[in-house]
Symmetry: D3
Subunit: 287 residues, 6 copies
Amino acid sequence: MTTQAQAEDKARVLIEALPYIRTYRGQTVVVKIGGAALEDPEHASIVADDLALMSLVGIRIVIVHGGGPQVSVAMKQAGFEARFVGGLRITEPEAMSIVRGVLVGTINPDLVARLSSSGLRAVGLSGIDDSILAATKTVGPQGEDIGWVGQIESVNGELLATLLDGGYTPVLASVGYDGEHPLNINADEVAGAVAASVNATKLVYLTNVEGLYKDFGDKGSLVSELKANELDRMLPSLSEGMQPKARSALVALHTGVGKVHILDGRIPHALLLEVFTDRGIGTQVLP
Amino acid sequence: MTTQAQAEDKARVLIEALPYIRTYRGQTVVVKIGGAALEDPEHASIVADDLALMSLVGIRIVIVHGGGPQVSVAMKQAGFEARFVGGLRITEPEAMSIVRGVLVGTINPDLVARLSSSGLRAVGLSGIDDSILAATKTVGPQGEDIGWVGQIESVNGELLATLLDGGYTPVLASVGYDGEHPLNINADEVAGAVAASVNATKLVYLTNVEGLYKDFGDKGSLVSELKANELDRMLPSLSEGMQPKARSALVALHTGVGKVHILDGRIPHALLLEVFTDRGIGTQVLP
Amino acid sequence: MTTQAQAEDKARVLIEALPYIRTYRGQTVVVKIGGAALEDPEHASIVADDLALMSLVGIRIVIVHGGGPQVSVAMKQAGFEARFVGGLRITEPEAMSIVRGVLVGTINPDLVARLSSSGLRAVGLSGIDDSILAATKTVGPQGEDIGWVGQIESVNGELLATLLDGGYTPVLASVGYDGEHPLNINADEVAGAVAASVNATKLVYLTNVEGLYKDFGDKGSLVSELKANELDRMLPSLSEGMQPKARSALVALHTGVGKVHILDGRIPHALLLEVFTDRGIGTQVLP
Amino acid sequence: MTTQAQAEDKARVLIEALPYIRTYRGQTVVVKIGGAALEDPEHASIVADDLALMSLVGIRIVIVHGGGPQVSVAMKQAGFEARFVGGLRITEPEAMSIVRGVLVGTINPDLVARLSSSGLRAVGLSGIDDSILAATKTVGPQGEDIGWVGQIESVNGELLATLLDGGYTPVLASVGYDGEHPLNINADEVAGAVAASVNATKLVYLTNVEGLYKDFGDKGSLVSELKANELDRMLPSLSEGMQPKARSALVALHTGVGKVHILDGRIPHALLLEVFTDRGIGTQVLP
Amino acid sequence: MTTQAQAEDKARVLIEALPYIRTYRGQTVVVKIGGAALEDPEHASIVADDLALMSLVGIRIVIVHGGGPQVSVAMKQAGFEARFVGGLRITEPEAMSIVRGVLVGTINPDLVARLSSSGLRAVGLSGIDDSILAATKTVGPQGEDIGWVGQIESVNGELLATLLDGGYTPVLASVGYDGEHPLNINADEVAGAVAASVNATKLVYLTNVEGLYKDFGDKGSLVSELKANELDRMLPSLSEGMQPKARSALVALHTGVGKVHILDGRIPHALLLEVFTDRGIGTQVLP
Amino acid sequence: MTTQAQAEDKARVLIEALPYIRTYRGQTVVVKIGGAALEDPEHASIVADDLALMSLVGIRIVIVHGGGPQVSVAMKQAGFEARFVGGLRITEPEAMSIVRGVLVGTINPDLVARLSSSGLRAVGLSGIDDSILAATKTVGPQGEDIGWVGQIESVNGELLATLLDGGYTPVLASVGYDGEHPLNINADEVAGAVAASVNATKLVYLTNVEGLYKDFGDKGSLVSELKANELDRMLPSLSEGMQPKARSALVALHTGVGKVHILDGRIPHALLLEVFTDRGIGTQVLP
């Protein structure tokens, strides 16, 4: 049983959330969850609770996920070797069925189930459903064939809107569709394009790094806030994993998304603290 | 700046609220605020914040208020003496204009203003507006004339519904209308009748006592939970101030209101703690 | 029992109203009722009937009222002296609570009750409700402090629209709100600003003068119709009481209000005759 | 220009209409107009004005018309002889095309045009449109063939509701449809069946008689009010023209129509006086 | 009973219709049916079936009809001689009542009945209903009086939209209204103006010619497709019957109608084949 | 290019479909597609076209699919042996991830893609999404543990209704959810339960047999129509694969589904012919 002092502390925390709830109510927030964040079940369950609370106070949430580590494991089991060119996974036709099986057949329903347990009305989707993610096959940096890898041509946001209006939380696996084949698309790129298409107020990347470093080797150089044009200048010096996030963030910011956050998903309730308290976490990028 | 440990505490409190938000979202809660609770501005502002948070997470709130102490002051200033019969204030015609001036012209707009500052879209009403509180003149326990004092005949809930559906929070002063004259009605009675008419899930009395005592003289006999039929039996032994609350609570519970709470409004954030945490405060009456 | 000849007369009058009803159906009309018009109960009841008829044939009505004479009486009773600068009542903080008590706590519910008796679904409001009348403290002509007197910054018409759409008639007391304090605002100014914000077809001032005189001293110089620019030129020569009406009328006409009428509220059914018959009364100002 | 005294008279008449408008607003009234009433253009134009006023104050009106005299003229011109059996016109197949040409091709559009001039949004219909009047061929009193004469099987009220909801006034010619052929149906019968199907508050027969007489030969025996069961008893003694009205009125009253009026359409504005004043005209039948 | 091979053929035809249905679903198509096409009952019934199928797959259909041949017969019977000036029928006042009787009282309800048998919810209208076809009296080529003949001033499409939204198919007779009199209007002109007013995707003329000929005398010169400007140039050389179609088609194409078709209504199911198969019939005019 | 004779044939087929379209428009049809039907791409594409046509003419379609053969292959590849008890696949926990990978990650998106190519707005779902298929773990006929195999407790049809109302076609993989784990459910059972929950007019099983045989060994004993109670009696004698279909069909028919069809999916366009022509195929079961 709570003591009187603890009770007052609780009340204070709830009241502190008041202005944030007022600000974000009815707004749309796109959250990109990296595959790493979903590997630890306890961790994933905390993220699910955070998202459920956001949804219950009236925030419209769209979740985008990839599944890099899990795909690598599955491909290794099937005898494929993980090969990357310019941050893009080379995806032979046979490999694509493994990629899709993992993203659409495993990670997506697992995440939907977890969100349901936290009380969200989650609906799993891939870019193939209602052709949400219209994509085209892309090539490697030197123009080489890299298999069924795609880049987004356009996002068809109607189904997302129908679901959000109905009180559902869409959970989108980063698989695109070129009208004939499924294509493997970088989930960071998907998140940015989706955020732009649903007029999101915020785009949040839940990562497994602390945020953006001015100097990648120096942990003390964490940037807590920067402008889009600064990020643009930093682009060449960013780590390979951070580059698609940064590029996608810039796309989103240029098309009206209000803010992009790169949060350390390893901090428990990072999402909640970022949205509902004055606790600054990770890096935020302003237009 | 919050430390990591504090941040985790904050997150824990917010997550603890999750199941309560889920339960009450879209439900209607009627809150009766006693005049005493509104005399201390700091206190009133805490109550306003609690109500705003409840509203922002999707609870439909109707506020009912009286203004006993303030009316007594104003009547004294105007040379009237406060006289009560059976808990009812004797209200001569000239006194009624003071009563209404205080309730409708002072307390109501003050409360509306305070709620606005906390972010609610509050709309002040009296029972005269759209004839919400249809009432008839009543008499004292011995049938004696007690002036413009009324009892509720019926509650016309349409305007309340229109406002709730539009996202507004109605704030209702306990003044009724008999088609010709305004009538002074006990605010506790109004709260119960309104709760019944809007199908409230909860009716909360914010009072200046700890709750209901089994033995009125013994502070240790506070009852934390009881059933309607038990309350019915206790009725004769209750204090004069508690009697209209109890009678009105029984009316509400018999017509489908889910629960009635008698909270100690002097505890900061009593409302919030009752609604969003496992902290039991005051007395709750079940059907 | 009506004779055949009388019956035909009745029918003729009803039919004469046909084109006017056709014109105004679904249109919004703002009616400003001066405090004087409300002092005589019989008179007030005629006005209420006129407004009820207008509402029943489908006109959307917003009523704005002040209460000059009544405020003066109440302030005198409380020992304050009525002092005016440039047509604005000097309102010390303590006086403001009297002003509000009279406007919001007495005149407004009295008018609402009267309109209810005539069959309108009237809802009393002040500018504090949902912050309808956002205002700022103003100063006297020489920059001197004149107390809690305000001027309108903006009108938040959402609540008015919600009520009109729901079939209600809002009755607005001329009290503004600066986010912290109630402010005394000239009711003529409120009427003009509200008419502009609700896209009114007509703004009607029910006054206790015959209309506008070309030469203030000469009763024979009553102007029955003039243009906004003519009114603008006449402004300096107008009586002190007419000046805020004229200024506010110009604001309304410049922001799209179709016509402004200055009617002699002492003529029984002036409103009805103006709206539903070919009888020209008072002064009308065209854009 | 109206004098002051006349103006006050006008206002009084308008105000007298207030309670009637309040009562009938949003209610549905079916008005059956006999062919005779439409022969005199001036008269027809008065009826149109009455209906327009009723519509403008929010009454939902459905008009049903026949056209006996006009049909007789047209048939005579075409060399047919008007023959009746039990009040039903014998209608040979070739005659039916004349009947329909007159009702649907002449009287209906003429009436629609007249109502438009009075400001109604009138829409002409026959029972063939959307198969509103599903009918079957009937026979004479002795079972003899009487041609394309029908009786109503059911009224399909959907199209009427769509039009009323859209603000239109349906004007229905008394032609039914058996799925293959148009059928000539007594317009009084149509009016009663339609009133029942649209849940009309009132069914009004605009006739060219004063009302119902207790003793058909005695002009002094006009009945101003009677009950359905009294009418039932009087049925055999009624004139042949009155019988279908009476039978149809009984059907309507038994299925929930509130009142049936038999008005003397030759009195100018009979409709208006009946609906908006205390002037009792003709005969009213209560359930 | 169908054989397996026939079954496959059937399936193939249905599947062939798929892309056409996809294209036209929810689109509005105006079909003008000439009087000739309605003379043969069997033929008319095929047209009705075609229209019913179009409606059932979600096409919004407006039908416009004239009735030249039938009017000529009726006028001859009544002793009038059919006289034309510049393609316009000279219509003396007395003749107008015959014209209207035939179009509104005979052809229109006959067509409505036939469409009902095919399952459409057809509603007969003339331009008088809700003043759909506002028209003015026109004169002959030499300025001579040609009687009650009109040209369209504007089309009031609200009633058409209400009916289409309600799932009904309006069937419009080519009679206009100048606020006082019905006017005889060329049905081809009506079709073009209506198509423009309802933003039709297609305007189809069901005629009794094969289409447009380059050289009117040479059957081999049928044009299967041409552009609006080509049609414009051909205008002087067209037959008298084709001229109003062509002029009206140009009006429609200039105001946004997508395509105009001139089909040979004598080919069974010409409408269906044009809309749902790759079979090109008659002439199509592109903007 | 089509000849005239072919054109007429085409038109005839389209018109033949008219009464069927009229009947099924706006109705809901559940189609269960067996895994076998999806193995042949050409075949699957014909089924997709049939479904697209049904959807375009206004039928609301819900698709349910299993994937028996594909699951068997995948399990064999992963070293599992396909074992069945009483028609239920024994599904060890590790096997369940293969089952789900195949159904949700491969067959479902492949089918969605194919339906998109045919013009449907298809949305892939599993019973985990919004907890559509609430299920519990079941046991074998002897009460033995058979792993993650479930039976349906209830169908949550809200998401299906939201999608159907929005014009989408839900495609549901037969995976249930017990609040913690995904469960393998017989797709035939899912189809019946879903049909009952969405008030389907028809439930169609697309199978790879001709229909129901009276005598399983005798191809000549195909039953073309039978009643639910006859099916009930035949139940014990049915093949193991037909038993769940039959049991599920009975559940559906008892809860209001209008008809159940067992069609031979190997016949091209079996679905289309059944729905839009008089061609009887396979077996139909009536309530």
